[in-house]
């Protein structure tokens, strides 16, 4: 070990290993429907894409987790975004490509991707 900068570099690289374990009460929760219907409709690649994108962009305040069937199986894969103090946003018929845009527009920039939401798709 030659310098503090070298230690810092190891620290930054290893951070990702442990951040998941720090409970955050005010985190944005991203819930991916992973019941049988969701998995059959392709929720797994959506989930992994979201996890990778969140990590790639270093979003500290986002917790990605699975949830069960919420009863709208025809719209799976369903992704819900729950922000403290805001209305829940429900995205439907998600794909990995849509997920990338959702992370970028919604989680990073705070703009809900209205065209992917259940409101735009159930008409």
């Amino acid at each position: 070990m030659k310098s503090l900068a070298e230690l810092q570099a190891i620290r930054d690289k290893a951070r990702g290993k442990v951040t998941l374990r720090e409970g955050q009460d005010d985190a944005i929760r991203v819930l991916v429907g992973m019941a049988t219907c969701g998995i059959a409709a392709g929720a797994r690649p959506v989930l992994t894409t979201i996890v990778d994108e969140v990590a790639k962009r270093g979003l500290q305040n986002v917790m990605v987790t699975q949830t069960g069937c919420i009863g709208i199986c025809q719209f799976e894969p369903v992704v819900e975004v729950v922000e403290p103090g805001k209305d829940k946003i429900t995205y439907v018929k998600m794909t990995p490509e849509k997920a990338v845009r959702m992370v970028n527009d919604h989680l990073v920039n705070g703009n809900v991707v209205t065209e992917f939401t259940i409101g735009a798709n159930s008409k």
């Binding site: 230690l7 620290r11 290893a14 374990r21 409970g23 992973m34 990605v64 987790t65």
Partner: protein, 597 residues
């Protein structure tokens, strides 16, 4: 990138209840479901709630599964890790939220809410066998700061100002100890770590070594810089195989990263650490005996002065600190002396780890700010005394400590208050006793321990402890006299004043404190030949209550010596001359007709 972390406790408690097999099954099931790239399984140190082991926590949800069996693993993987449905029946009950797929945060449960984790902050959070994880939680930052920004005197000043006192039991101010060693000039100095945790019932040092070994290494290097030492020794019990293994892994990794060795952080500071395994003698926890043992000689204490700060290991200036003391050091450097001094009482700063054991619901490790009362620890964090019994006393400080009776439960616990009420902090073992515990018997238990562990070098301890035990045996077998109690007290005071080392000086404490608070029990043993708690076999007899006995014959059939007689549907009788007091009849009786008195 993993989306989920599964932490499984790899501390000694959970390992002995099969957590290794759980980890193995988890890995198999996760592979079978094709989740290896998504879910990371980590073996951590102790979470503290040992009573509920084996313990598993799944993040990011923070689901805390307790008493997990290997056969539960497929369900957890299928339901939780694959489908995201938390397996409620396995959750720690305090964290269950009705009608919801989320859980209550562990920090809001009674066991953890009042705790404040400083020394244990990484236990159960990081993988102790991976130095990167320690660095990720700011590990070795304090060492870097000390070497690049601070002088040795600065380091000593910060530690002194923080008010940190030795966590091994005596509570000597750590900063002052370091200052003495720094002031003594010598060609070689040593930094030692006392990991020879020997008190029955204490396991906090073990958990720190198993859960966060790098914290100890980092602090020893900081101490080495402060006093001008280049070599450290950790004296650890050979009976702690997991701790020894993880310490060795940690030392190897630190050397590989250049955090131990030559020119650390490109400075002139060199420091290395070696392990020395103790063979399990209690006296080797005493500082001079420990150093004698590291030197390769028989572990016996020697008179002080000279103190180790002047002439310690190999005759050179040496500091010796306990594991838990070291576990606080890096945090103090990073967060400042004022932060540490803001916790605790006027003369005892920071937090203390207690190992809760005995008659208590939540057996385990708890870390609370100094000044927390015994009532808070036992009733709120520990969940109280189980099975409807009442709290009688708590024993702190192991064989060197004493008892705290129920009347003193609201005294804020710190070094000085405990001494004032006749006990001591000790390493932090806290054994809870209920109304079925005989206080004379407890004193006898600890005396048996010190008789075994006395090294024999000085007469007061070698002979005195044995005589004390003989008197206690006489009392518990119903042959004692009132003069014996006086003689017991006199001999205790003689031992305190004349023994060579702390082992003998403190050996009478369990007797003196029980005599102080529970003298009536001693007197009942002597004058009435009765054990009020019903624990001393020689003084208790089993009787059948005539009005409650239904004559079912169950007791008579289970008595191993045929001491119970009677006919069907008629009250039975125990022949006390034949009875061996095994208690089998009382256990079997369905009508509570058998009593002990």
């Amino acid at each position: 990138m993993y989306r989920s972390n599964v932490l499984v406790c790899g501390g000694t408690g959970c390992t002995s209840s099969n957590s290794e097999l759980i980890i193995q099954r988890l890995k198999e099931e996760i592979a079978a479901k094709g989740l290896e790239q998504e879910v990371n399984v980590i073996r951590t140190g102790c979470f503290g709630l040992c009573a509920l082991g084996p313990i598993m926590i799944v993040y990011p949800e923070g689901a805390f599964y307790s008493m997990v069996k290997p056969d539960d693993v497929p369900e957890i993987v299928e339901e939780h890790l694959l489908k995201g449905r938390i397996v409620k029946r396995l959750l720690y009950q305090e964290t269950v939220v009705e009608n919801s797929n989320s859980v209550k945060s562990l920090n809001h449960t009674p066991f953890y809410e009042k705790q404040h984790r400083v020394a244990l902050r990484n236990c159960g959070v990081i993988n102790p066998e991976d130095i990167d994880e320690y660095i990720a939680v700011d590990g070795y930052q304090a060492l870097g700061k000390v070497l690049t920004e601070m002088t040795p005197q600065d380091v000593i000043d910060v530690i002194t100002k923080s008010g940190l006192r030795g966590r091994g039991g005596a509570g000597f101010p750590t900063g002052r100890k370091w200052l003495f060693a720094a002031q003594n000039q010598a060609d070689q100095k040593y930094v030692c770590c006392n990991a020879d945790e020997g008190d029955p019932g204490a396991f906090m040092d073990r958990s720190i070594l198993e859960g966060d070994p790098h914290a100890v290494l980092e602090a020893m290097a900081i101490a080495g810089y402060a006093i001008g030492a280049s070599q450290g020794y950790i004296y650890v019990r050979a009976e702690y195989p997991i701790a020894v293994k993880r310490l060795q892994i940690a030392i190897d990794q630190a050397r590989e990263y250049g955090l131990l060795g030559k020119h650390i952080f490109d400075t002139d500071f060199n420091f290395d650490i070696e392990l020395r395994l103790g063979a399990g003698a209690f006296v080797c926890g005493e500082e001079t005996a420990l150093m004698t043992s590291i030197e390769g000689k028989r572990g016996e204490p020697r008179p002080r002065p000279p103190f180790p700060a002047l002439k310690g290991l190999f005759g050179k200036p040496t500091i010796l600190n306990n594991v838990e003391t070291y576990a606080n050091v890096a945090q103090i450097i990073l967060k400042g002396a004022d932060w540490f001094a803001s916790m605790g009482t006027e003369k005892s700063k920071g937090t203390k780890v207690f190992a809760l054991g005995g008659k208590i619901k939540h057996t385990g490790l708890v870390e609370v700010p100094m000044g927390t009362t015994l009532r808070e620890i036992v009733e709120e964090i520990g969940g109280g005394v189980p099975d409807g019994h009442t709290f009688k006393a708590a024993q702190t400080g192991g064989p060197s400590g004493g008892c705290i009776p129920a009347s003193q439960m609201d005294v804020p616990i710190d070094y000085d208050n405990l001494i004032a009420i006749g006990s001591m902090m000790g390493s932090g073992g806290l054994i809870v006793m209920d109304d079925t515990t005989c206080m004379v018997d407890i004193a006898k238990f600890f005396l048996e321990f010190t008789v075994d562990e006395s090294c024999g070098k000085c007469t007061p301890c070698r002979v005195g402890t044995r005589r004390l035990l003989e008197i206690l045996n006489k009392i518990t077998s119903g042959n004692g006299t009132l003069e014996d109690i006086d003689r017991l007290e006199e001999l205790c005071n003689y031992l305190k004043e004349n023994s060579l080392c702390a082992l003998g000086q403190t050996a009478p404490n369990p007797v003196l404190s029980t005599l102080h608070y529970f003298r009536d029990e001693y007197i009942a043993h002597v004058t009435e030949k009765r054990c009020p708690a019903g624990a001393c076999k020689a003084l208790t007899n089993y009787y059948i209550l005539e009005d409650k006995c239904k004559g079912c014959t169950l007791c008579a059939r289970n008595c191993p010596v045929g001491a119970i007689s009677g006919t069907v549907k008629k009250p039975h009788v125990i022949d006390t001359s034949k009875c061996i007091k095994c208690g089998a009849c009382m256990e079997k009786c369905k009508f509570n007709a058998i009593v002990k008195r």
